[in-house]
Amino acid sequence: MDFPSTQFVPSRMMGTYEPIHQIGMWGENFKSIGNPSISASVIVEVDNKLENESETASHEMPAPSCKHDQEASKPFDKIQRRLAQNREAARKSRLRKKAYVQQLESSRLKLIQLEKELEQAREQQGLYIGGGLEAGHLGFSGVVNPGIAAFEMEYKHWMQVQNRQLGELRTALNAQISDIELRIVVENGMSHYFELFRMKSTVAKADVFYVMSGTWKTSAERFFSWIGGFRPSELLKVLVAQLDPLTDQQIFEVCNLKQSCQQAEDALSQGMEKLQETVSATLAAGQLGQGTYFPQVAMAMEKLEALVCFVNQADHLRQETLQQMSHILTTRQAARGLLALGEYIQRLQDLSTLWATHPREPA
């Protein structure tokens, strides 16, 4: 089902707000499901939300026009920044709630549909579909984890903020702003990455395989994926190439960081291999082909729990790498580094798009 919020968000940001149009869109979507009693109650809830949001939208209007007063109103800027952060947090919360409700609705409908199909299949073929195979045959992937839905919403928003921050970095580096102000921009950039790691930690608890597969990322990003994200050593490689000139002291510290990062990465990689071997051995234990396998699967499940730890450790390593780099670099270098990293990821995403749309000879 197409979720209308992606059309919803940009119009809010531009301040052109059409509540009636939005309600219409919501109504249309629910009508197409054909369950008017549910859609009525959800539309009422959405109405209330839209009313609340129109209040905040009117408060947002003055903010963009105050840019020309920048020099005389630095405290005003700081307050505006805080207000903006609060609004973002509130907006994120609303998006999460929307996603959750949406998922509940679609899951419920999918379940009804599947039950119908199952009834029909049983009647027609008179087959007994055994317990373990049922889920696989009927594809329970239709019932999506609400944790994943929430994460995907938040990630879409995260990318929007990321792109905005990259623009701010570009502007800040070209303008004559003070080191203190540049530091704030850098800190925002760093916090934004740390926010992503927190989001990933939450969704990893809901479904670690989702994080491992990198489904929310573009295909080229997934190509470079290592335990659910970018390789810290890759990150360093991309950054360092952009950061000349470095002092001798900085070169020494970066070298050490590269080495310890590589060692930690190798340790986690080998730990992951060990985990694969362990799960595989557990799963293959006993005789294959006899049809009774639940004990082995249950034991393998237990072993697999460790995967969550590995994903968390990998993200921790990514965070520490960024943190250490920011200690080694000057504010200006850190800003350039963040911009370089952000643009590198954008290039990967463009590569994915180009690849997907590139005409290819039929097989």
Binding site: N256, C261, A264, Q270, M272, K274, L275, A306, Q313
Partner: protein
């Protein structure tokens, strides 16, 4: 628990682990890469393993294993060891207790 504190102080670098734990394996590999050899105590092969696990949790470890002690003092689990290593603090801490390869 006395046994844990005693074992922790017996050597410069002590690792409490479980032979089935893959994260512990990763920490062992890390020490190998740095060129140090920890004294490893596998809790799943120790009769008092459960007691020791509880003792480690009481000392403040979020997970009983892996638990790393340097010079008898608790450094922490994988998180702390990785942070320490990346900040350049792990090797200096180990220096008085081991000769580097």
């Amino acid at each position: 628990m006395d046994k844990v504190t005693r074992l922790a102080s017996e050597n410069g670098l002590v690792l409490f682990s479980k032979s089935s734990c893959c994260l512990c394996y990763a920490v062992k590999i890390l020490f190998q890469e740095i060129g140090v050899t920890p004294t490893v105590h596998e809790l799943d092969q120790d009769a008092e393993g459960r007691e020791m696990e509880r003792a480690l949790m009481r000392l403040g470890c979020s997970a009983p294993v892996p638990a790393v002690f340097i010079g008898g003092k608790l450094v922490g689990s994988t998180n702390e060891v990785m942070s320490l290593h990346l900040s350049g603090g792990l090797i200096p801490l180990l220096r008085p207790y081991h000769s580097m390869c």
